[in-house]
């Protein structure tokens, strides 16, 4: 990134000094993102070196090269973080809602003021295109903190008059100290989804980011040193088998929140059971995206939206638990509709995710890349037809070792493994249906039930399908919108609990019932 013709400017953070060019990579001269060679854990509002002094490399998938080191924490560090959280617990629980909400709003303000910086950091570490982090990940994280600042103040306890002299009061009380494990696909936004309700409900938290993406949340923590009271938010990095387990099994947490894959979800629930504490797990999906024939009744803006709706499988390079990775297209429009969609897919530009014109960046890690490759292989073995893509993409220069995979479409049938398993890459499995009944049958023929999409100009049909699909969210004539205030969570094996909604405060609260008698009369039993 040093051979650009124009000198980068501090203000724009762009390689060509313009307002539209590619952003300069973190740590390079002119970048919006400062970079230290090494990051410690964020514990008790300060930076604490890991007890055993070990660090691990953080690799950017953009270049395949390490760009910094983060703490390789051990269970001793988990204890330090829990110590800090427990020290802060009582004061934070007793902080007024006014002041708690003010802290959340301030977090939102700080993120917003550093939107471009965080967007570039997130893009560099995860590989997601900066056009997405600028327009979705970071603004949604901002809004999430504001939403929960408001939600917690508007959440009222209830009182019930049991009889004339007896009243049941219900108060929300914080759980205490919680553990939260964040996935790699939306490192900052998923952290916001977890941290905001936990803090809003008066809890302190110990957060473990995903192993491939530990750094962007540490960049956020740098901004929050003086914003969040010490110990209320703690971030420790390291391997899941070591510190994820130490955190989830700790008798010192009151709840564990997890987003990730199904077997680990089971393991987390098993660990929670050991301590008899609640868990919220948001797990995998294999979301159907259903296109009824009437989407092609006119060649208009809506059809354009529906085509984009299919191509959204490539959003965040398919590393989304709600990726619309099974397209079900009405047989009568299949040829024409897919022709239009494939034209659109051909126009997807792939490359440096820090370039705002890039639509798809690299997969997050080599492990994801090898998994995607093995799925395409099994799909072809099962007789699927590859309509486009299907292989790793080799870019030039500094991106030559990045983890790029071509947007891929496989045509087949719903019993194939590529239709049944989450690939977590830009791979769409497409099939056809004859009528509404068959569309519904295929849509529900899956282990998962996280998301779904329905596209039709017929409101009654959309409603029937939306209610009959067994999934926690059915996007209707839209997809991949994640506004705060719309509950998100899974049916079937896609998870337990909901996020992204005021009801999340219930997941992070105890209910205290005061049962009060205002009568002076004895019961008369003794």
């Amino acid at each position: 990134m040093t051979d650009t013709l124009t000198k980068p400017t501090e203000e724009s953070g762009r390689e060509d000094g313009s307002a539209t060019g590619a952003f300069v990579a973190p740590g390079q001269p002119g970048s919006l993102v400062s970079l230290k060679p090494r990051y410690e854990n964020f514990i008790g509002g300060t930076w604490v070196a890991p007890v055993k002094g070990e660090y691990m490399k953080d690799i950017s998938p953009v270049t395949g090269k390490a760009f910094c080191e983060v703490a390789r924490s051990t269970k001793e560090d988990v204890e330090l973080a829990l110590d800090a959280a427990h020290r802060a617990r009582q004061a934070w629980a007793e902080t007024s809602l006014t002041d708690r909400a003010a802290v959340l709003n301030k977090i939102a303000d700080v993120i917003e003021a550093n939107l471009q910086m965080l967007a570039v950091a997130e893009s560099w570490e995860n590989g997601k295109p900066v056009r997405e982090t600028l327009a979705a990940d970071i603004p949604l994280a901002v809004d999430h903190f504001r939403y929960f600042a408001g939600a917690t103040r508007s959440l009222e306890g209830r009182s019930t008059e049991i009889d004339k002299d007896t009243v049941a009061y219900h108060f929300h009380e914080p759980l205490g100290v919680v553990g939260q494990i964040i996935p790699f696909n939306f490192p900052l936004l998923m952290a916001a989804w977890k941290i905001a309700p936990a803090l809003a409900a008066g809890n302190c938290t110990v957060v473990k980011p995903a192993s491939p993406t530990p750094w962007s949340i540490l960049k956020l923590a740098e901004l929050l040193e003086d914003v969040v009271p010490a110990g209320v938010l703690n971030v420790i990095t390291g391997p899941g088998a070591e510190i994820g387990k130490a955190l989830a099994t700790s008798p010192r947490i009151a709840k564990i929140g997890f987003t990730g894959e199904t077997t680990t979800g089971r393991l987390i629930m098993q660990y929670a059971a050991e301590n008899l504490i609640p868990s919220t797990v948001e797990l995998g999906g294999k979301s159907p995206n259903i296109f009824f024939a009437d989407v092609m009744n006119a060649d208009d803006e809506f059809l354009d939206k529906a085509i984009e709706g299919l191509v959204l499988y490539a959003f965040n390079k398919g590393e989304v638990c709600t990726c619309p990775s099974r397209a079900l297209v009405a047989e009568s429009i299949y040829d024409k509709f897919m022709e239009r969609c494939l034209e659109r897919i051909k126009k997807i530009t792939q490359g440096n995710p820090l370039d705002p014109s890039t639509m798809i960046g690299p997969q997050v890690s080599t492990q994801q890349l090898e998994k995607i490759t093995s799925y395409v292989d099994i799909g072809l073995q099962e007789g699927a037809e590859c309509l486009i893509g299907g292989k790793r993409v080799q870019l030039d220069g500094e991106f030559a070792d990045g983890y790029y995979f071509a947007p891929t479409v496989l045509k087949g049938h719903n019993k194939m493994r590529v239709f049944q398993e989450e690939i977590f890459g830009p791979v769409l499995a497409v099939t056809t249906f004859k009528d509404e009944a068959e569309a519904l049958e295929i849509a529900n023929d899956t282990l998962y039930g996280l998301g779904a999409g329905v596209w039709t100009r017929d409101g009654n049909l959309a409603y029937r399908m939306g209610r009959a699909i067994q999934a926690g969210r059915v996007w209707t004539n839209c997809y991949h919108l994640y506004p705060a205030g719309a509950a998100f969570g899974g049916y079937k094996i896609s998870g337990v609990g909901r996020e992204n909604h005021q009801m999340m405060l219930e997941h992070y609260s105890q209910t205290k019932n005061l049962l009060v008698s205002y009568s002076t009369k004895p019961l008369g039993f003794f």
Binding site: A241, T264, L283, G285, Q367
Partner: protein, 125 residues
Amino acid sequence: MNGFRAPERVVASSAAAEAIEELVAERGPVMFFQSGGCCDGSLPLCFEQGEFVIGSHDVLLGTVAGCPFYIDHRQYEVWKHTQIILGVGDGEPEGFSLAAGRDQHFVITSRVFSDGELEALGLSS
């Protein structure tokens, strides 16, 4: 009956078998559970024996280097026409699995069973 012997549902590459033997020598017996979707999903998760509680409906697919390899029964239904081949890849595990040696992780590839093999497994349609 056709001429096929029922094939193994899960097999280990020599690198995987070696990694398992080293793990066992170092930490004692281990077990595998094939994970489902999302994030680091669809990977074989390796635990110390007994770490992951096996449920009443989990399916024992077979053993690899003497260690049991399980899968969720619902997932088994959609995977049963394929053989799982356990291997080893570069890089530390991204999730809760034990590593397959320093800077290595367990991976799987899959192979679709032939018609004859499916018949021998009692799975022909």
